[in-house]
């Protein structure tokens, strides 16, 4: 029993990594209607920024600021590319998927060549934080609590932003149909920039949380989770923020518990088979797709 509880708690920590990333991924779907496969890479590069600043100055405030600025900068840099792709008539959303695969490759290469000579980075113990509760093999770390709270706040905040505010409506409007948005007199360029800016803000926030939760980063970190992030989004329902929260956590728990009872490499198989069954039963996702 203790073992099971410990694994569930571990799973929730792992799941909060997925939740955070899938929220960012879904945000891109909602505000720009793109499959942003490279989003996790943006987050990882931002983690490198956190690390670099912490190492150079040990100034927490500065680290937070720089992380967010870097993340925003990266997202803004990608805006013209995706704007171009999505504004051409008759393009498929899958084209953005492929473009972001390309982008992801570029970013991984830049990281593996230029950042810390391709070696992983590691955050200091006082940044990562130790455990706040321990009982036998059950352990809850400070960073997990941050991540859970952060994850929920992020999901709620973005839900509110997107569905209850004018800015959110503008984002979704442009994502759905640029042409009509233009007829409505919505400032396409400004709004689009703003949506990437907000996605960048979120990315910076996620980077900070992940740097505490994982404690390290490497050029491959983004790639190793990107596929699962995509899967979580699909199974929850593409663009469904609430769904992402539940399915992300659930995936973490399933994986952790599965690892507890079967050999490691099969845990992926188990997680994916469960997701497969869910998606076959509910082809539009467990919580319904928010994006067509």
């Amino acid at each position: 029993m203790e073992f099971f509880i410990a694994q569930v708690l571990n799973g929730l920590s792992l799941g909060s990594i997925y939740v955070l990333l899938v929220t960012g991924f879904n945000l891109m779907l909602l505000v720009a209607k793109i499959i942003q496969f490279a989003y996790p890479q943006f987050v990882v590069i931002s983690m490198y920024a956190t690390w670099a600043v912490l190492r150079a100055t040990n100034n927490v405030i500065l680290a937070i600021l720089v992380t967010i600025v870097v993340s925003i900068f990266l997202n803004l840099l990608s805006e013209p590319i995706f704007r171009r792709i999505t504004s051409i008539k008759g393009t498929d959303i899958n084209a953005t998927f492929v473009a972001s695969i390309g982008l992801s490759m570029v970013l991984v290469e830049i990281m593996s060549h230029s950042l810390n000579q391709g070696f992983p980075i590691s955050f200091s113990d006082n940044w990562v934080g130790g455990s706040v509760f321990r009982y036998g093999i059950i352990n809850i770390s400070r960073s997990s609590i941050f991540a859970w709270v952060g994850g929920i706040i992020v999901v709620v905040a973005f839900f509110y932003l997107l569905y209850r505010t004018m800015v959110g409506r503008l984002f979704r409007a442009i994502a759905e149909n640029r042409h009509v948005a233009k007829l409505f007199g919505i400032p396409i360029f400004k709004t689009s920039i703003m949506s990437y800016l907000i996605a960048g803000l979120l990315g910076g926030f996620i980077a900070l949380l992940l740097s505490m939760l994982i404690g390290t980063a490497s050029p491959w970190l983004g790639e190793s989770v990107a596929l699962k992030v995509l899967a979580v989004s699909i199974v929850a329902g593409l663009g469904n923020l609430k769904g992402g929260l539940f399915v992300g956590l659930a995936l973490g728990v399933v994986e952790s518990v599965a690892i507890g009872y079967v050999a490691g490499s099969w845990s992926n198989v188990i997680a994916f088979v469960i997701m497969l069954i869910v998606i076959l039963a509910k082809p539009k996702g467990l919580f319904g797709a928010a994006v067509e």
């Binding site: 004018m166 409506r169 503008l170 979704r172 409007a173 759905e176 149909n177 042409h179 009509v180 233009k182 007829l183 409505f184 007199g185 919505i186 400032p187 396409i188 360029f189 400004k190 994006v291 067509e292």
Partner: protein
């Protein structure tokens, strides 16, 4: 022409191209404040293109002046912010958003906000009932009503209306024309493009006739209504 001296909208020698196809040729047109002007012409004559060029959606060559501002240099959103709104052809709305959200988006440039959404519901009660429905599942006519309602919400001084009767039941068409007249009476300037020449000539002050991208005739609506040529070409057999 109830021109009170200041130019409101003035198009001068406007040409519009779709790649190599010239859709508008040397169009010069004027609309005075509070005027109700209608564009008539066959399919493909260039009516929609003309309206789009005013909003700089299809880039025009030439000059378009609105209240002293040169529109050709502005982006669409700036033009809308300056007080022109379009109710586009073919009920273009956001299909995946709710009716209410579509209307709320319409208020983006407007000042009166919620209060005028209530007005819209007053014009089109069915929209109130469908408030939470996804706009894409509305019937064709409901979508058109939504589109009109949304266009009014940006508090425009000049409303460009592109074939509002498309796909609407006669009763609704009448209603909509009534609404347009009402709006005109309270001071909105209206430039309407319409297939239904007779009806629109009846309610408009002035009219331009477009043929393959050229203005071939212009005049007071009443005069055109009685013009033999127009009768033949546009008023045809239809009542």
């Amino acid at each position: 022409m109830n021109n009170n001296g200041t130019t409101f909208l003035k198009m001068n020698n406007v040409n519009v191209f779709y790649d190599s196809i010239q859709a508008l040729k040397n169009i010069s047109l004027e609309v005075a404040k509070s005027e109700f002007v209608v564009l008539i012409g066959a399919n493909g004559a260039g009516k929609s293109t003309l309206l789009k060029s005013i909003l700089n959606i299809q880039a025009p060559k030439g000059s378009i002046n609105f209240k002293g501002k040169e529109l050709t240099k502005l982006h669409t959103d700036e033009i809308v912010a300056n007080g022109i709104s379009i109710i586009p052809e073919g009920h273009l709305i956001f299909n995946s958003m709710s009716v209410l959200e579509n209307l709320q988006l319409g208020t983006y440039h407007g000042k009166k906000k919620e209060q005028s959404i209530e007005n819209i519901f007053g014009y089109f009660p069915i929209l109130r009932e469908r408030k939470e429905q996804t706009a894409g599942t509305l019937s064709g006519g409901e979508q058109q009503m939504l589109s009109i309602g949304r266009g009014l919400l940006s508090d425009p001084e000049l409303i460009l209306v592109d074939e509002p009767s498309l796909g609407l039941a006669p009763k609704i068409v009448n209603d909509i024309f009534d609404i347009l007249v009402k709006l005109n009476n309270v001071g909105y300037t209206i430039l309407l493009s319409e297939q239904n020449a007779k009806k629109s000539l009846e309610i408009a002050d002035r009219a331009y006739v477009l043929e393959t991208g050229n203005i071939v005739m212009e005049g007071q609506a009443d005069d055109l209504l009685n013009d033999e040529e127009i009768k033949d070409a546009y008023l045809g057999g239809s009542i």
